[in-house]
């Protein structure tokens, strides 16, 4: 097992990893940018080290800064969290070259799954139906137009690195494609330091269902069920839940088993999330694998009782998984709400500033993962996630009822948050009936959506 881990991330996930390290009895050092000097993870850490200025390219996205920090702090492993350098195989390789362990899949595994097009091919060969997409990365505009024509519009432009909806656009015509290609590239470059893009066929009415797997170095693996992330705004997940209301128990089990079998066969290692689009008929298509801890991992933790972060660290340290599929028992229903500093009344404009007052809800089945505190100043440089409210109930109805109570209890004063959109969702007929699709919020428009909820 490791002795000391560098946490190369910020916000709620830095805090979550810090807790995981402490649970395992490991020392942890929080690496932070100058803008995060007063953040909760830095305050709570036994040790913290400033790695650069507010600009993420010179701090959280700087491989030399992160690795140098790990070395001077005497760490033997780096936890990258999500976003930033978490899925960068080049980074994982340099980490290993300096005698440190990257907490995630080994560099060789990350490299094998680095190309999204290549991954589709690989997992397709191991029995997963895949979504049609471009042949590799888009070289230029001509190549993009040609590939889009071949796949058939509408198509989704996606960045090869990272996620979170940045650099992603759905386009219905060649003209649209031409006009947004450059924007997507610069967004991807800014967010992930890599501007390669590819195309994927867009299914108009689809649900996003993902399977969580955990596979050790010795090829023993389990799935931890699925998460339904169909409530999205501009390809950004805002609510995740499990089990998915979209599939029958038998279909869910079938999908999960096929996913973990394919991942093991393809040589995957550590935590992974296989994302699928599920169409109206319940047919599913593999789209991509996320080789990191995910924002929505608590949903799975609530259902299975398996600690995803400590499992990830143990696997990276070379320990055997230690449990089998028959040990994984899923109970009840869990829903996660991403609390973002975004103004739903103004195109979800991201906000920053002083949190004048903060109160986290509680009660049975309620969990809050957040780095907020009263008096915290949210810096304007990073993403707008303030925290996550996760609510568990023995069934979906109870989870929804508890969610209403918890959202009403939550207090974040001084900043505008997206809580109203969550409250509206809990009054929405399609959501209550479990019929949300990934494009519904964008199609209806958030304003109309909020207004409808206010009327009911």
């Amino acid at each position: 097992m490791f002795r000391k881990i560098l946490i190369a991330n910020r916000g709620e996930i830095a805090l979550r990893i810090l807790r995981g390290c402490r649970e395992l009895g490991l020392e942890a050092v929080v690496a932070y940018s100058e803008a995060d000097r007063d953040s909760l993870p830095v305050q709570l850490a036994d040790e913290a080290i400033c790695i650069g200025p507010a600009d993420a390219r010179r701090s959280y996205l700087s491989a030399p800064a992160v690795i140098s920090a790990a070395l001077v702090a005497g760490c033997d492993a780096i936890h990258p969290g999500y976003g930033f350098l978490s899925e960068d195989d080049g980074f994982a390789e340099v980490v290993a070259a300096h005698g440190l362990t990257f907490i995630g899949p080994p560099a060789a595994v990350l490299e094998r799954f680095a190309s999204k097009a290549g991954t589709r091919q690989l997992l397709g060969a191991h029995g997963l139906p895949t979504i049609p997409g471009s042949d590799g990365m888009l070289r230029d505009e001509m190549h993009a137009l040609g590939e889009a024509e071949r796949i058939g519009y509408p198509v989704l432009i996606k960045p090869s690195a990272g996620g979170g909806g940045k650099g992603m656009r759905m386009v219905r015509t060649g003209r649209e494609l031409e006009s947004v290609l450059r924007v997507c590239r610069s967004e991807a470059k800014a967010a992930f330091g890599d501007d390669s893009l590819y195309l994927e066929k867009w299914l108009d009415e689809n649900r996003h269902v993902e399977i969580q797997v955990a596979i050790d170095r010795y090829g023993h693996g389990v799935h931890l069920g699925e998460r339904d992330c169909s409530v999205q705004r501009r390809h950004q997940k805002i609510i995740e839940e499990a089990p998915t209301p979209a599939l029958s128990d038998a279909a869910r089990a079938d999908l999960a088993e096929r996913a973990v079998r394919a991942a093991i066969a393809a040589g995957y290692e550590n935590l992974g999330t296989l994302e699928f689009l599920v169409d109206r008929d319940g047919d599913f298509f593999f789209i991509e694998i996320n080789c990191r801890i995910q924002v929505e991992h608590p949903v799975t933790e609530m259902l299975t009782g398996v600690d995803m972060v400590t499992t990830q660290i143990r696997i990276a340290a070379g320990e055997p998984l230690g449990f089998a599929q028959s040990d994984v028992v899923m109970t009840g229903h869990a829903i996660e709400f991403r609390i973002n500093a975004e103004d739903p009344a103004h195109e979800f404009r991201p906000g920053a500033g002083l949190v004048e007052r903060y109160h986290a809800p509680g009660g049975p089945g309620v969990r809050v993962d957040s780095h907020l505190f009263s008096g915290y100043e949210v810096p304007p440089y990073y993403d707008s996630l303030l925290g996550k409210l996760i609510v568990w109930g023995p069934d979906r109805e109870t989870a929804i009822a508890r969610s209403r109570v918890a959202l009403n209890e939550l207090v974040v004063e001084g900043l505008v948050t997206n809580v109203s959109i969550h409250q509206a969702m809990l009054e929405n007929e399609a959501f209550l009936a479990g019929r949300m699709t990934t494009n519904m919020l964008d199609r209806v428009g958030s304003e109309a959506f909020l207004a409808a909820a206010a009327r009911s």
Partner: protein, 208 residues
């Protein structure tokens, strides 16, 4: 003849009124506006800020990229810790060459009489901070007692084999080193004191 004297008289009258207004404006600019703008420039990470007010224009420009990348980069109204840190060294703003000056501010150390708003002065020692996280090595040519100009290299911080220059934030004389050669340092950490520091023109106040 009257045609020629009348405008001259008017000019004199105007300039009297102007002078009063100018003095008031200068006082206000240096006491209120400049510190606020400096904080803003630090917080936003922008390279340049310009404000127009009445007949006045104030432009703040960050020094060139050669200067240590450290420094305070945000508003710290809520942070006791940061206030302490700033009070200890006063170095963060100095690293950016953005120390506020003006009547009542730099009069303590005998730099008084500097009524010239173009010539920004520091009132004592300032500190060169670390441009990176890594291992610090001083530069022999810049040992204690050496006279240096703003931007001169004082040492380097090795970040995974990439040396990052530690540079003097101001003109002055190299003073005490706050760390030992070979020490691990973090980004922004104070490394070397610069005594008798005087900054170059950082804040230029000019008439529009």
């Amino acid at each position: 003849m009257p045609e020629s004297t009348q405008p001259a008289e008017r000019r004199a009258e105007r300039s009297d009124a102007e002078r009063l207004a100018d003095h008031a404006a200068i006082d206000r600019l240096s006491a209120e506006l400049l510190p606020a703008l400096i904080a803003k420039l630090g917080a936003t990470g922008l390279g340049e800020l310009e404000v127009r007010e009445g007949g006045w224009r104030v432009r703040l420009r960050r020094p060139g990229s050669g200067v240590a990348g450290g420094g305070a980069t945000r508003d710290r109204r809520s942070s006791e810790r940061d206030r302490d840190r700033a009070a200890r060294a006063g170095s963060q703003g100095a690293a950016l060459g953005l120390t506020p000056v003006g009547p009542g501010r730099d009069g303590r150390d005998g730099h008084d009489g500097s009524t010239n708003g173009h010539d920004a002065r520091l009132d004592g020692p300032t500190v060169a901070s670390s441009p990176a996280v890594g291992i610090f090595q001083p530069r022999y040519e810049a040992r204690a007692g050496t006279k240096v100009r703003a931007g001169d290299q004082l040492g380097s911080v090795d970040m995974l084999g990439i040396p990052q220059d530690v540079v003097a934030p101001a003109d002055g004389v190299v003073g005490a080193s706050l760390v030992e050669p070979g020490d691990a340092v973090e980004y922004g950490q104070e490394l070397i004191v610069i005594e008798f520091a005087t900054a170059g023109a950082a804040a230029a106040v000019s008439e529009a």
